[in-house]
Symmetry: C2
Subunit: 196 residues, 2 copies
Amino acid sequence: MVMTQRGTRLSAEDWADAALEALGRGGLAAVAVEPLATRLDTTKGSFYWHFRNRDALIEAALLRWEERGTTQVIADIETDPDPVAKLRRLFATVIGHGLTHRIELSLLASADHPAVGPVLRRIGERRVAYVAQLFGEVGFEAAEAHRRALIGVSVYLGNTQLASTAPSVLPATDAERLALISSTVDALLAGAPGPF
Amino acid sequence: MVMTQRGTRLSAEDWADAALEALGRGGLAAVAVEPLATRLDTTKGSFYWHFRNRDALIEAALLRWEERGTTQVIADIETDPDPVAKLRRLFATVIGHGLTHRIELSLLASADHPAVGPVLRRIGERRVAYVAQLFGEVGFEAAEAHRRALIGVSVYLGNTQLASTAPSVLPATDAERLALISSTVDALLAGAPGPF
DNA sequence: GAGGTTCCATACGCGACCGTATGGTCCGAC
DNA sequence: GTCGGACCATACGGTCGCGTATGGAACCTC
């Protein structure tokens, strides 16, 4: 009379995904083995088979998140040849990433955690470098491209924060939000040199 | 042979300040009674005399922080009559608030906490409303003033986030940082109507 | 300097979570 | 079908933090 009949067996990736989901809900503190096991309808026995300990899970989840949040986004954007179009697509793409945003905001509280800090740093640097590169392709010289990238990334990050903490100050509809972002991109492109 | 000789007796404010300090270091999870007691070189006995429980401490600390981070800053800025000067002073003032920033970033992870969410919401709304008011004083009509305020506040928030996570992408010196902010304010004021 | 109030120390029970140990179950290979 | 490795369940000991209870120290007042 056992009636186990578990769903399927779990992989390390299942645990990492569950960890990311928990991270978005309750921050790093919510990435706890026993609660996750309950949520996955299994036990710690499974977890400690796949991972050495909790820190290993955190690292795996963060790497997974970093990959999905940067490399893949950039690779997707890069299919477009025109830099201006890329900038618009980038900001449009990046507005809709609900879970990624929640995770990122959660991680800010743990910026000094040895596994978290480097990931946030890499992501920040890659974002600014990539956007600066796009402004470079548009025709700005390096320093100016970097400054504009900084403002562009900042406005994106700040927008994300406001969306999470004080959504009432943001435009109500997606269309208006995109229009605001679009006009911001226009402003950042103002005075562009090159063949226009 | 007791030799207690404690420093001085503590007040509720001492505990609230310690809580804010811990909040900046390790997020909401670090606001824990026993560690704080150790840090203050006292015991839980003191804490539970001044506060009903941990949540009460959190609320007290948040109110203290909200007061210092908004009301006082705005009151200070308002001593200047010229709106453009106010905008510049505001952004300049707001760049240096190290501890406040760390606390705010830490709190983003706990935006769904019943005591945290409302505070973040109020702060966000007040900031945008106040900056929008300044743009209104400069001469923009309400909707445009709100849009520009949104971008201004976003760029400030994003800048703060980058400073904490990827400082290497920001200008290295204070002077350069201020110059960047200054040119951003200029850009946000571009096209201003009124007597110029 | 006695007595009451304010403030703090200590001890306790409780729950949550970590990590380990150990035995059990599933599953493909042969 | 059975055997071995991959995978999971369960039980345990340990740590940390919460909140309570209760006695004691410090201070103030008269």
